[in-house]
């Protein structure tokens, strides 16, 4: 078989391999995108953008390593880039309280309002956290990532993950105090 004949087959094989991995980790990537972006429409745009970027860079993906970690890192970077562009326009910080407004549904949008109502109090509280706090809470508390894995996704030191996680948890403790008290009493 000539080189010209094998190249299209190789490209198709690579595309199929990527599609298989993407299917396998899609739900987790979408959930991460949802927690970062804050609503379904922006979450799909984000995970789609991250998928295109990952496909373009798939040649650099180290076979045998965790595809979900790699994809989540690309997704996180993509969102951070977008948030920084928005920051330059809106003058908001990625780490300070108030950046949760980025995740808030547009006022007057009935679909976004319904989406928020369906989230429930816990998810709403997570969505109101500053960006990097909710990323740490999502990865460690919701997805069970080790600190080192979360640090790789968030591209920061492990100590930073621990700090962001703890501050995020303290903020959630304040927001969900009534639910936590009820759970401790055994009322939930």
């Amino acid at each position: 078989m000539t080189k010209a004949q094998t190249q299209p087959d190789a490209r198709a094989g690579t595309a199929n391999q990527f599609a298989t991995l993407l299917r396998e980790h899609w739900d987790r990537a979408y959930r991460f995108a949802y927690h970062l972006a804050g609503n379904a429409q922006e979450a799909e745009d984000l995970v789609q953008q991250a998928s295109l970027e990952a496909f373009a860079a798939f040649g650099r993906f180290q076979r045998g390593s965790r595809f979900d970690h790699w994809l989540m890192r690309i997704l996180h970077n993509s969102f951070i880039d977008g948030a920084r562009r928005a920051k330059r326009k809106r003058f908001v910080s990625l780490e300070e309280p108030g950046v949760g407004a980025l995740a808030a549904p547009a006022s007057g949008d009935p679909a976004a309002g319904l989406e928020t109502a369906l989230d429930g109090p816990v998810l709403q509280a997570v969505k109101a956290l500053p960006l990097e706090f909710r990323a740490a809470v999502f990865l460690v508390d919701l997805e069970g990532y080790a600190y080192e894995e979360a640090a790789a996704v968030m591209h920061c030191p492990v100590g930073t993950v621990r700090s962001r996680l703890h501050r995020g948890r303290l903020a959630l403790r304040e927001a969900l105090g009534d639910y936590i008290d009820a759970a401790r009493r055994g009322d939930l």
Binding site: A15, A19, Y34, Q48, D141, R162, H166
Partner: protein
Amino acid sequence: MRSHPSDLLSGYVDGTLSRAEHVGIEEHLATCIECRKTVDEVRTLQILLRAAPQPTVPPAALSRTLALLEARRSEHRWGVPRWSVAAAAGVAALIVALQWPIDPSPGPDSAKHAGFQSHAEVSLAHPLADMALVTYLATHLPYDFELTSVEPR
């Protein structure tokens, strides 16, 4: 004022501290009601988080993304954008043009004649050669020699 090992409390709950840190936190917790309460509340919070319903993944979102990926792949299947073909043709034409002798002066300068004949042969052998142009130039330029070895294809 008494200091609390705030950040380390989450690490303590998650079991990610070093042995020395772990022992230090346990000693602190033995005497600090406030931090014991924080640890307890963080553990309860984790239970709430894991029990909370997660966002629903739209069923068609993956299909839409895979279709987009396939479309992008098809766009790049042949690999060469149209602008690069036009640019390559332009560069080739420029190279051929620069190979023509610019000096039209007649005369029995044998070195100049040999150079022109060589150029003509190379140009004719070139896959982008314009036969009509080469023939016209060989016939009409005021050189006093014949292109004996150059036959039109």
